[in-house]
């Protein structure tokens, strides 16, 4: 008991393949440490919701202003790939939930396996996303090579949006849909990459036996992060792919 701050509380390892965990000095109990970190993480997730929320607000705002643009824009996306990616993310969310469960039940091998599967899901998601971007690039809807070449006010020509097949020709400001599509999916994709990185970090710790029934806090938090990434995609998918 650390009432004078000199000894720390230690959670013993449940078996030889695991490590014990020392509770930080300013906490009295493991429960207090766990709950503090968890409340903090939920607050962080709330900020993520509001950060993405700004993008969603912009989406709805322009959807309201330029109906046709958004309907036609949605048609240019491949809903089949979107649905596939949705399923991939849902599956990876499931493997992550199972990973946390394995940590809670001190199943080291399973924890590693489920985390590995989750990272695999992240990679598949990104690969599919890459092919989607590639298709948009080919149709001149988002030309990545000219992304930063700017806007020519005199000709009204936007460098990255040439729409050379004229698919968006009939509607006002066709690029707006793709600008929002690109921005939202890119920021989401960044979260996928960060999430996958965190899971790899969890796997490193898991291999050393850091996580077990007595202490699985980091696994739990990274799991929450990964579910949030899934959560955002659950809304992105119908808004971007199915609005037509």
């Amino acid at each position: 008991m650390s009432h004078d701050g000199h000894h720390s509380v230690v959670i013993p390892a449940p078996g030889p393949e695991f490590q014990s965990h020392t509770v930080a000095h300013h906490f009295d109990t493991p429960v207090q440490e766990f709950q503090s970190a968890k409340l903090g993480f939920w607050l962080f997730l709330a900020t993520e919701i509001l950060l993405f929320g700004g993008l969603f607000a912009a989406y709805f705002y322009y959807h309201q202003m330029y109906h046709e643009t958004f309907h036609l824009g949605g048609q240019q996306l491949d809903w089949w790939l979107g649905a596939l990616n949705t399923s991939v993310l849902l599956l990876s969310s499931w493997t992550m939930a199972m990973g946390v469960r394995s940590a809670q039940t001190s199943q080291k091998g399973k924890l590693l396996m489920y985390c590995g599967l989750t990272v695999l899901g992240a990679v598949i998601f990104l690969v599919i996303k890459f092919f989607e971007y590639k298709a948009k690039n080919e149709h001149g809807l988002i030309e990545f090579a000219h992304l930063f070449d700017g806007y020519n006010g005199a000709t009204g020509q936007l460098s990255w949006f040439t729409d050379h097949d004229g698919v968006m020709a009939g509607v006002p400001h066709g690029h707006l849909f793709f600008a929002i599509y690109l921005t939202m999916t890119a920021i989401h994709g960044l979260h996928v990459i960060i999430g996958a990185g965190l899971i790899v970090w969890i796997m490193k710790g898991a291999a050393k036996g850091r996580f077990h029934a007595g202490y699985y806090l980091p696994v739990d938090l990274v799991g929450l992060y990964w579910h949030l990434v899934d959560l955002i995609w659950i809304f992105l998918f119908p808004l971007l792919y199915l609005v037509s």
Binding site: M1, H3, V9, I11, P12, H26, F27, D28, T29, P30, V31, Q32, F34, K38, L39, W42, L43, L45, A46, I49, L50, G53, G54, F56, A57, F60, Y61, H63, Q64, M65, W79, A83, T86, S87, L90, L91, S93, W94, M96, A97, R101, Q104, A213, G214, Y215, Y216, G223, L224, H227, L228, D230, L231, I234, F235, F237, P238, L239, L242, V243, S244
Partner: protein
């Protein structure tokens, strides 16, 4: 409860409102969900995904967006309640996460309402106000007089 009890023999009694120590070192009292439940949730999520795609193929007019959002909300609730364990989480954690949606909805409501009612403004200004009552910039007036 950084301040622990002066009575060392008494163990890890945490006080205050939110933390409740169980006098144990393990966090064993945390909820561990069954694998079967997780699997059921996954299946429900995949089915709902199929339903959204199906529903979007049918033309409900402007209701399509609403339907898609409603289904997405159900899916999100499943992920939040089960995968994210919110169903078994502490009250404060629930409040924190749900209030983020509440405050976000304020951003949505006011910005979208502004944008939507601006069109009504335009109509009110152009159709209801007689031409001679409409506001004209003074410099335009001066030009007209000349």
């Amino acid at each position: 409860m950084s301040a622990s009890n002066d009575n060392a023999g008494h163990g890890h009694t945490a006080s205050g409102h939110d933390a409740h120590g169980h006098g144990e070192l393990q966090m064993g009292h945390h909820h561990v969900s069954s694998s079967a439940m997780f699997l059921n949730v996954l299946i429900a999520l995949l089915i709902l995904t199929a339903i959204t795609v199906g529903a979007s193929r049918i033309d409900f007019g402007s209701a399509n967006l609403l339907i898609a959002m409603a289904i997405a909300s159900v899916k999100a609730s499943l992920v939040i309640a089960f995968f994210m364990h919110v169903k078994w989480d502490t009250a404060i954690n629930k409040i924190v996460f749900l209030s983020s949606f509440l405050f976000l909805s304020l951003l949505f409501i006011f910005t979208l309402a502004d944008q939507a009612t601006r069109r009504m403004d335009d109509q009110a200004l152009t159709t209801k106000t007689p031409v001679d009552k409409q506001w004209v910039h003074p410099s335009t007036l001066a030009e007209q007089k000349q």
